[in-house]
Symmetry: C2
Subunit: 297 residues, 2 copies
């Protein structure tokens, strides 16, 4: 489950409710394309913006419509109490794995984060992926802390943010982390622009935002990397440079991917929870053109 | 309400429930001391860690036990939908004012924050304080954005983080903000170590963490500053330098103030929501000594 391509779909919603029909459509797209796993309620799935009840419902729908594809469910919350409840709900819904980011309001220290993961890992019965995303959590993992957490029961993967652009530096970075963690724990790269580099320098899995909307495009890159053709994977990535640049201009991928889903009428517009707003204006027009020209699918 | 000393008490809790009796004790302490307002469910009140139902209950208790002291209630949440509900609940509970921080998971842009405040300011009927706290929200207000928001209906105050240590720079910083906002909107300083400097350089109010536990100590400083005796206010602040240093060592004031309340048996221990843990070890012993030596009350 924690290898190859893991696709993170949007959770389409409006101010009143989750758009369940549109969510099912996204899931069926991923299942048909043959991604290796589906990451429901990741950052792209706006887990942090939903109630416990809504998250339980989304987890259930994801599992029901994923076919044979394993579903990883995001269980992050500010409070340990709430994470334990969310883990329970996700497991009852049939999640094959769980994804946990150390969300913060008060800045957390290493020991608090370790104890948080320890409490959760002791309470669950499916594999856990440690979600390292300083851009949203504002917590910076040291490799030493990753090592301590990776020894906990049920920990099976670490989702790291982007790797350095330079392949040598990227390789060194992944090797440093690999040296701290048990061999059964996989390392996954996120930050889609870094996928080709990450997969060529020791990452086992790509936790992918674009795969949630364009699974075939992401699979093409992943399969090239998995077959050892890293130059081809890099070519596929370079083709998408305009998309990576757009992510850079809009505080990350979410508002762009939401606009993409809206443009393709796969979801109603708007599909993000306020105050978040999908990309509008010139970049929206540019995105529509990119989807067509690059045949993103 | 948005002038003088505003005291922000802890919301004591454990993993099961809010400790209502202890919370009432803290409120009565503030009321007896004669603070100018009480800020319930601020960052110190762990608003971000509680459910809607718990927050409605805390707001109700705060108003019921504040005597004649006006109560400002924190209504921040990641989602505009939830903030509107929380504003409703707080007003029904009898809040005299509301406090809103632009909490974020996905990094927000200026227009999203403006529209968020616009939606809330249009839906409320009591004054609103804009809560600028980049340390927890990771959103950085420009003075220009403060100016736009300060023009919205019901906006009555801005709670800024610390001012520069240098009095000239602090004065310039407050004057720059003052020039952007209407005269009926007050400016309040937070970051307790900066209170004396802030109050001597144009801030109208001190939004204070220590006042939530040591209201008399904070009032002494505030009244000196209000009477124009800024040298004395600065002396009072310098006396507390060991406390400010301790805040610096523990990612801010919360874990220290929680330890202080635990040491004084005003709350059960632990009183913070996991994963947050109050100060332990040597600094806890040091804090107990400081409370005694400095006669903090």
């Amino acid at each position: 489950m924690f290898s190859g391509l893991s696709a993170f779909p949007l959770t389409p919603m409006n101010e009143d409710r989750i758009d369940e029909a549109a969510f099912v459509g996204l899931l069926e797209r991923l299942n048909a394309a043959g991604v290796d796993s589906i990451g429901a309620l990741g950052s792209t799935g706006s887990y942090a913006y939903l109630t416990r009840e809504e998250r339980a419902r989304v987890a259930k729908i994801a599992v029901e419509h994923a076919g044979n594809t394993p579903v990883i469910v995001g269980i992050g919350a500010l409070r340990t109490r709430d994470v334990l409840n969310l883990a329970d709900d996700a497991q009852k819904a049939g999640a094959s794995g769980l994804l946990l980011a150390p969300m913060s309001y008060q800045k957390l220290n290493d020991e608090e984060v370790f104890q948080h993961f320890k409490a959760v890992s002791a309470a669950i019965s499916v594999p856990l992926c440690v979600y390292d995303n300083p851009g949203t959590t504002h917590f910076h993992f040291s490799d030493e802390l990753h090592g301590r957490i990776a020894e906990l029961p049920n920990v099976a993967s670490i989702k790291i943010p982007g790797v350095p652009n330079d392949p040598q530096e990227a390789k060194a970075r992944v090797e440093r982390l690999r040296a701290q963690i048990p061999s059964h724990v996989s390392i996954g790269v996120s930050g889609d622009a870094f996928a080709a580099t990450g997969l060529s320098t020791g990452c086992d899995v790509w936790y992918s935002v674009i795969a949630g909307l364009f699974p075939n495009t992401a699979l093409e890159l992943t399969r090239a990397a998995q077959s050892g053709n890293h130059a081809l994977a890099q070519q596929f990535s370079s083709r998408l440079q305009d998309l990576w640049d757009m992510f850079g201009r809009h505080n990350g991928s979410l508002r762009c991917i939401a606009a993409g889903a809206e443009i393709l009428n796969l979801v109603d517009s708007p599909c993000l929870p306020l105050p978040l707003v999908s990309v509008q204006g010139e970049d929206r027009t540019r995105l529509a053109r990119l989807i067509e020209q690059l045949e993103l699918s």
